[in-house]
Amino acid sequence: MNVPDPTAPGDDRSPSAPGWRHFEHRADIGVEGVGRSPAEAFAQAALALTAVICDPAAVQPLVELDVECDELDLELLLTDWLNALIYLMATERMLFSQFDVRIDDGRLRARVRGEPVDPRRHRPAVEVKGATYTELSVTRDAGGHWTARCVVDV
């Protein structure tokens, strides 16, 4: 996935690939992104967000939009980021599949790519109402991997 990150600390990057997954919540669903930097983890978490709605592979990167969030608390920055995407999905009637994210001292700048929702092709399962503070964390493990996660309300 397209997530170059100029802020990533190159020395302690782990060789394993970034990725995303969903985790269990009885009523809703959790999104989790892993990467070699907060920015990469955030980009992966955004992919997990799209995957709540539909298969990200079905979303073509045809239209480009910019996203900006300013928040010094990295955890709140994660929910701000996901909520900015939820807002764009709702108001622009779009889905996104590519996320170029930079985070620098509480400033998140991203270029996101996607296309308008096509219910016949994307078969969206559910819309996301908001990113919550439940199970919210942004952590770095001993191997230098960043994990960004929270439950989203659907």
Partner: protein
């Protein structure tokens, strides 16, 4: 569960300890308690620590893990005692709720054209991700809608004045302040008026299959074999954005208000603070948005029934289950004005309550409980529980429980992920069709996530609510057609 003691077969209690200011009271059967998320009790105990909480932190029989507050949580706060209002105590889908409408038709009349009706409703009701509503509101009209609720919708031609008598707050939540609603929230709503949404939201055609309380059923106009329409949805993008906006504002401001949060999701603000008042103004605007939205969807459903049958739909009642409302309740013999949060819980006023419409006052409030697309929904009636006094202590008296609240639905038993692993959407649809239930939805995965087996047994939930004294069963309804987002 640690600290949980049994009060009766359907009431459980955690005594206050640590920072808890009041006990936790859970209304549920032993089986429901066993299946309940551990997080429910933890969250209910966290709510019990919040400033100004009165009485107890309550959990309904369908309670499950929520955001700060459990879903199925009820808590009341006194503004004069430092009480708080919490965005998490209301939820992201402000004033999500259910309304039930009489069709005047019986099962046979619908069975004759079931396919056509299902297709016409699916065509006529905007549902699912990316759908847009029948009207787009420019800014001034949007603000009028946020102030006027369903009363605004009726003025705009969506329904009749008589509908308003059968909606909580007579269809218009007082104290709404559109200025406290962000531009983002307003923009998110512009294309979403009159849309059903997705997830567990639905429009169903249902048939009454059982009457439990003939007198109340008669007052509600319900008879066995009657066909009803039920609409479950909320305040759409506007409510979701208000929830998002204020969750952060309250979390960031908590320390300024000297509120120690056990969980960031418990974010709240003193009712008597600028932020608390701003949230109340915005949240009430969200309630009006939900009431207007269900009113417009009713109008769309009426068009379909008028065209196909030449009949009208009359409103039985409209309830909201994600709200915070200022209400008067008697606590320890004293009437108090309290801010009652109901997150995934239905207000359930008993007989005689002055806020009920005059023709329902003697009976009590209809309490509409949504089930799954394959099982059943229930109509209950608000109740006053008998509180038996011991020998020599005078006559037993009646009183409302949990600030006159009841359950709101079945509650999930399996996560969405677990559900999609177990079921396939089209197979769910085919199986329901073989049972005579026609489901229409743009999303197969959405259907799998909402498979009937992913939910708890709604019957067990309403029986527990009845046995606990929260509300009484009046009628059982089974689905014939389900439109899902």
């Amino acid at each position: 569960m640690t600290g949980l003691t049994k009060v009766s077969n359907n009431e459980w209690r955690i005594a206050p300890h640590g920072a808890m200011r009041v006990p936790v009271i859970v209304y549920a059967s032993e089986a429901l308690i066993r299946d309940m998320d551990n997080k429910v009790l933890e969250q209910a105990a966290n709510v019990a620590t919040l400033p100004g909480i009165v009485g107890a932190s309550y959990a309904m029989p369908d309670a499950h893990w929520g955001y700060g507050f459990p879903i199925g949580g009820v808590a009341a706060f006194d503004a004069d005692e430092g009480g708080v209002v919490s965005g998490g105590g209301v939820g992201f889908d402000i004033s999500c709720g259910v309304r039930a409408l009489h069709t005047g038709l019986d099962r046979a009349a619908v069975a004759a054209v079931q396919q056509e009706l299902a297709d016409a409703l699916y065509y006529g009701i905007p549902a699912g991700v990316g759908s847009t509503g029948p009207i787009q509101l420019e800014r001034r009209a949007l603000d009028a809608m946020l102030t006027g609720g369903a009363a605004w919708a009726v003025r705009e031609g969506y329904g009749r004045p008589g509908d308003l008598d059968r909606i909580e707050e007579r269809g218009c939540m007082a104290g709404a302040d559109p200025q406290q609603v962000s531009e983002h929230a307003k923009k998110r709503q512009q294309q979403e008026m009159g849309t059903l949404g997705s997830g567990n939201h639905y429009l169903e055609v249902q048939v009454v299959t059982e009457i439990y309380d003939p007198a109340a059923a008669n007052a509600f106009g319900l008879g066995r074999g009657d066909v009803m329409v039920s609409i479950h949805c909320g305040s759409r993008g506007l409510g979701h954005q208000i929830g998002t906006d204020y969750l952060k504002r309250m979390a960031v401001a908590a320390s300024k208000h000297s509120i120690a949060l056990r969980d960031r999701e418990l974010a709240c603000a003193p009712i008597n603070s600028a932020l608390g008042q701003a949230y109340l103004g915005a949240m009430r605007a969200g309630i009006n948005c939900a009431l207007a939205n269900r009113q417009i969807l009713t109008h769309l459903a009426r068009r379909v029934f008028a065209e196909l049958f030449g009949t009208d739909l009359t409103l039985l009642y409209d309830v909201s289950h994600n709200t915070c409302k200022l209400e008067e309740h008697v606590v320890d013999g004293r009437a108090r004005r309290l801010y009652v949060h109901r997150k995934g819980a239905t207000r359930a006023f008993g007989p005689g309550h002055p806020d009920l419409p005059s023709d329902l006052r003697a009976t009590g409030q209809p309490v509409l409980i949504g089930g799954t697309m394959g099982t059943a929904s229930y109509i209950l009636v608000g109740n006053l529980a008998m509180c038996g006094h011991g020998p020599g202590e005078g006559p037993a008296e009646t009183r409302e429980l949990a600030f006159a609240s009841a359950c709101h639905g079945a509650g999930r038993a399996l996560s969405r992920r677990a559900a999609t692993k177990r079921w396939h959407g089209r197979a769910v649809q085919d199986e329901l069709a073989s049972l005579g239930i026609l489901v229409r939805s743009p999303s197969a995965r959405g259907l799998a996530e909402e498979a009937p087996g992913a939910y708890k047994d709604v019957t067990e939930v309403v029986v527990a609510a009845e046995q606990a004294g929260l509300a009484r069963r009046v009628a059982r309804l089974e689905p014939l057609i389900c439109i899902k987002g």
